[in-house]
């Protein structure tokens, strides 16, 4: 399953400065693993040691926060779009 991934703000530096990339995976966790294979260290930005998504980075499937779905286990479909969004504190 190839999915488009939007990467926002400071997370971009973990994927070589890209704002958008494509990745493979049947679930959010698999997608994160796929990106981590190409950009080692990416996974640590998003999930903790137990595989749970960090509470300070949001992952959206289309426009829905996956925390309100199945979290990292949320299934992906063809044509889905993932957005990864860290909290920003700047004012």
């Amino acid at each position: 399953m190839e999915v488009r991934v939007n990467v926002t703000s400071v997370i971009q530096k973990t994927v070589g400065g890209q704002r958008e990339l494509t990745a493979e995976g049947g679930t959010v966790a698999e997608l994160i693993d796929d990106i981590d294979r190409r950009y080692p260290g990416f996974r640590d930005q998003l999930v903790d040691e137990g595989g749970q998504l960090h509470r300070f980075v949001n992952v959206y499937l289309n426009d829905e926060d996956v925390r309100f779905m199945e979290g990292a286990a949320t299934a992906l479909s063809e044509g889905d779009e993932i957005s990864i969004l860290p909290a920003l504190a700047g004012g």
Binding site: F56, V57, R67, P86, A89, G91
Partner: protein, 372 residues
């Protein structure tokens, strides 16, 4: 001997929608006759059957009501400004009517039916607190002041630094070294002397937040650190206040409106990142103009809240990417498990936010200063 007559919005159907009518002077009665000669029917609005100016109509020459002068015999001459201001339905006390100066200053707002003179008075009665007089606080404060929001509160304890001037519109070169609040008060009064600016020159913390925030109806978050963002969120929720949130970093911005019971900052980001993971603007940089985009969005949402118009940015997180100039929207929901606004809240009073967010950076006491 031309004088300018300001026509209030509800009367403009008689004056071909003209806001100002220029006629020859003489006295007020002559001016009103001259307007009526050009736009027949106008005198029905400004005179009763005995051809007296009814109590619900105020006529001002320059800024003085004609009852304090010579009534309709008041002499007017070249360059004088006359304003016809009807009191509004609902028995408003005269002291709450807009002055001619206000009617003219805010005419581009008042002319819109979504605002009108009732809306303009709502703005004048409104009290809005802005946390941080920095990157976001600057455009928010300026637009609220320009719009005639009656009371603008500002929380900041920082001093203007040269590196602030790339984006912080409230401060100018000569303000470097002054407190941001002193600088802000001068700037806002230069824009609009009618606005009451209330300054809170102290770091916002758990002991003073409820008292400061409690005095206002709408809170705007322009803080530059997570500890203050969670503090403001919790205090606003506990006090039942609407919080207009915005944040920026690099070329990115985020904005949303939290209404108590419809999601809060903790529903959006349940926990702050570990210290050092998400850099500050000082560490990573920020595009100056993104503060204007996000701040203007926040000011617009405040305006809509006060006037109760449109569809607020509630339940939606707006993402702005300046590099692609894409605006995207994500859903924002109240989390039933939220420790603050969820079904079984565990945060029922303010906590120690420095501990919650980890130790603040060593370099400076950044709590609630806007945009270092």
């Amino acid at each position: 001997m031309a004088v300018s007559v300001y026509i209030p919005q509800p009367f403009r159907r008689f004056t071909a929608n003209r806001e100002y009518v220029e006629v020859d002077g003489g006295d007020v009665a002559g001016v009103l006759d001259a307007v009526n000669a050009r736009y027949p029917g106008f005198d029905m609005l400004v005179y009763d059957r005995e051809r007296r100016v009814p109590a619900h109509i105020n006529i001002y020459v320059n800024n003085q009501e004609i009852h304090e002068l010579d009534g309709i015999s008041t002499a007017v001459g070249d360059g004088d400004q006359i304003a016809v201001i009807p009191a509004l339905a609902g028995g408003a006390a005269p002291s709450t009517a807009l002055t001619p100066d206000e009617a003219m200053r805010y005419s581009r707002h008042i002319i819109m039916p979504q605002v009108g003179s009732i809306g303009q008075r709502k703005l004048r009665n409104a009290k809005v607190l802005i946390v941080g007089a920095g990157g976001l606080g600057s455009p928010v404060a300026i637009y609220l002041a320009l719009a005639g929001v009656g009371t603008v509160g500002l929380v900041d304890f920082d001093v203007v630094d040269l590196s602030n001037l790339q984006r912080q519109l409230l401060h100018q070169t000569e303000d470097v070294g002054r407190t941001k609040l002193d600088s802000a008060v001068d700037t806002l009064h230069a824009y609009n002397p009618h606005v009451r600016v209330v300054t809170h020159p102290a770091p916002l913390h758990s002991e003073n937040a409820l008292e400061i925030i409690g005095d206002y109806e709408i809170i705007v978050n322009g803080a530059d650190n997570f500890a203050t963002r969670y503090l403001v969120n919790d205090a606003a929720y506990l006090l039942g206040k609407t919080l207009v949130d915005g944040s920026i970093l690099l070329f990115d911005g985020q904005a949303t409106v939290f209404k108590p019971g419809e999601g809060c900052y903790r529903c959006l980001y349940p926990a702050p990142p570990p210290p050092g993971l998400v850099p500050s603007c000082a560490e990573a940089g920020v595009l100056g103009a993104i503060t204007g985009i996000v701040g203007s969005i926040q000011a617009t949402e405040v305006f809509k809240q006060i006037l109760d118009i449109g569809r607020p940015l509630v339940g939606r997180l707006l993402l702005i990417d300046a590099l692609t100039m894409e605006f995207r929207e994500m859903k924002l929901r109240r989390d039933p498990a939220c420790p603050l606004c969820g079904d079984e809240p565990s945060v029922v009073e303010l906590i120690d936010y420095d501990a919650f967010c980890g130790s603040p950076p060593l370099e400076a006491p950044t709590a609630n200063g806007g945009g270092h």
